[in-house]
Symmetry: D2
């Protein structure tokens, strides 16, 4: 059975990639590709069952309110959701026939890296994160790397593990990375690279490395399509693609 | 509460590492370290609650029968278990007060690599395995790599995925690796290396790599200690450490 | 001092990237960006000192003859040069005021990987090559990987080294890769990847890995610019960017 | 022709590995394996042509003086050589029939990594170093990593390159590593690991990674044997194995 999909923000670089992804999927049909000026009513007229929103913080709330009221599920990659906005969306979903997925990261390899890191954490004495990005990135470490480290730290706490072993006595400033909740995080900035994250775990005589490489800016497409296919099955608001992966 | 542990095969290289591991663990007490000539009755006399058996195919069955009859749990890394032997052990466990864990691989990083590979498989178009070992290894690929590829292949089948994309028309013999159930497996033999496995997954614009490195031959110790701590909770016979990891 | 540069094949995807690269370089000035229909005489009229040719096997020889006769140096990435064509170009260069660089690979990271591999080869018992490409590639292994393996094999021979250690007795077909002159080469095909090569060397207790990643199709630009800047200093025909790198 | 070799410090862990390495080499003959108490005169009596010294700062100078005076070449891995000691050794070598190699690092993979890093540096906009060691290491980053970064920095200066691109505005303390002469160096501490160094270079659309892994503490042996075989050809004092590698 083919699902009818609308894309909001369809002319942006991200939106274009999603439009192509929907076109290429046999089980999805693109029924509306809207941009800033276009009327949301088109979604209803064309019978859209799910929309994908990669627009702007300024327009996403209006889009969501309209879609939820009209029983259209929403998959959202737009940024800028604080607790207040999430609560608002959750409230709109109550009693409505539409579900919403909001995710900060749709790159499936990044989402799995975080999930596996959390699963692995309690089996290893040591855990560190190294992320690699192009040198135009403004923040270090990346939000994903910080989030990954926090997940590891939480898993260690839940397993009753203490501080990581580290006998360093003499250190150049910064050599041992940033301390995120007891997990060292290192940020490399490298011309030519895109977005890459490596999580390393060590135990007696062995290490485990989970590495994610994003080679171009369409890497979120497969995750968005999973969202589109699964959102109807997850009632209300879900935050984070990992909850759709059954792992 | 401290568990009382006996080690069988305690003078072998592996056994010695386990003896050291048990000594180093606060929650475990070594009450018997037996080798070939020693009397199994010592285990009972010393009140062993769990034994670890890294002996030989020739002696392991006698050891297990004795321990199970005496209500001592068993964690077994000895090789040579075919279906007949497993059935025999399962039968001994019926009605007995002892559980048994038999595992082909106790390196926790290798066990997690296989588990994560199976979880990740259905999210990626492509999956291949590269394993690296010292050049004295007799078989290629390693049993672990074959097992990993089979797990990936099964997960792909269960998700209804078809063959992997591969447009190769012109190939040197062997370049594309061994075909294990539709998953390419490559074996590198390298002086200086020990045992390493890399599983690579690819999807649009991204890849996920899960890599396991064993640096020395004590890498099974943490996994054995997990077995020792958990075996009392898993009734009967369990085959494979992954079933003890709650992932 | 600024060099005046012409680009032939300027409207192709590769040519566009070179045009951008020349524009971005302070020491280079783009004086002509020609495509199929355009008159080569423009190069002379605009005072081009060097041209870059990424055109087609059908037009490159005419381009080179014209440029050499007019004292314009040539940096060539166009494919299809057999011995006959190279001899012809060499002959044109004799007595002319123009030099020519023809290179099969301008990705500086790939050229250095090959060079370092050749330097390292005699110090290690073991050497293998693993290359990774997108699954639309028609040949396996890549030409670069084969070339790298041949370089390693030659360096081993020159150092009087024998066959690599390998005790494999039992092997799945293809597991140990393709045999290129005694060096195993493995080809991985992976959706999302672009072009990547890894050369691994092993010796007692250690390994050395040289890895090259091409993330997008503009990775040849820095190498082309080196060619443009250096070609005036290298008399006659040079084949291979490595001869310009002083390593 | 077989060379006669003496080993000083033969009973230490390092010395034992060298003794085994000399035994295993067809072109070398072990004629003396001395430890603390033994008489150096044995070296002369047994006709040693080269000695290997992995002893202590307290005894190495006496050993060198004796050997140089007796025309025995020296390959030295003992630590603690400051400028004064090097000058003393250089003076002893003048007019003597013996040469001396003193090297801080005999792991051939580490020496090549540093050498290749220096060669590659001027071709890439970005360069960073990540080193990985067991968590009992006292200093961070490792001396080798600092030395590598300094070599890269020097090569960049000689090529007239400026600061590396880095738009970071918002950073957790330490995230961007230690600044060694303008090159970021990151130190990971990981149970199970031994000693590993990765140098990463980035340029448009590509990266080059040179990685060295030491899996056990015998990784210096091949480098020591190169020293033994080559020291007769290099007059006077040489500091650093790289000068023997002809690269």
């Amino acid at each position: 059975m083919v699902q009818k999909v609308g894309v909001l923000g369809a002319k942006g670089r991200v939106g274009q990639a999603i439009v192509e992804g929907v076109h290429a999927a046999d089980d999805l049909e693109l029924v509306a590709a809207l941009d800033r000026e276009d009327d949301l009513q088109t979604l209803v007229d064309q019978g859209a069952e799910v929309i994908v929103d990669f627009t702007t913080p300024g327009s996403v709330m209006d889009n969501l309110e309209f879609c939820i009221q009209n029983g259209i599920h929403c998959v959202v990659g737009t940024t800028g959701f604080d607790q207040g906005r999430l609560d608002q969306v959750r409230q709109w979903c109550e009693g409505a026939d539409a579900n919403v997925l909001i995710a900060p990261n749709f790159a499936i390899s990044a989402v799995l890296t975080m999930s596996f890191a959390r699963q692995a954490a309690r089996f290893f004495d040591s855990a560190e994160v190294v992320e690699y990005h192009h040198p135009n990135k403004l923040d270090a470490p990346s939000g994903t790397a910080i989030h990954t480290a926090e997940g590891i730290a939480q898993a260690r706490r839940e397993a009753g593990m203490g501080a990581q072993p580290d006998a360093t006595e003499q250190s150049l400033d910064g050599a041992r990375g940033a301390d995120v909740d007891g997990v060292a995080v290192h940020a490399v900035r490298m011309t030519g690279m895109v977005a890459h994250e490596e999580v390393i775990f060590g135990s007696q005589g062995q290490s485990l490395t989970i590495r994610q490489d994003s080679y171009d800016r369409t890497s979120f497409v497969p995750g968005v399509l999973i969202g589109v296919r699964e959102v109807a099955k997850h009632d209300g608001l879900t935050v984070g693609l990992e909850h759709f992966l059954d792992i």
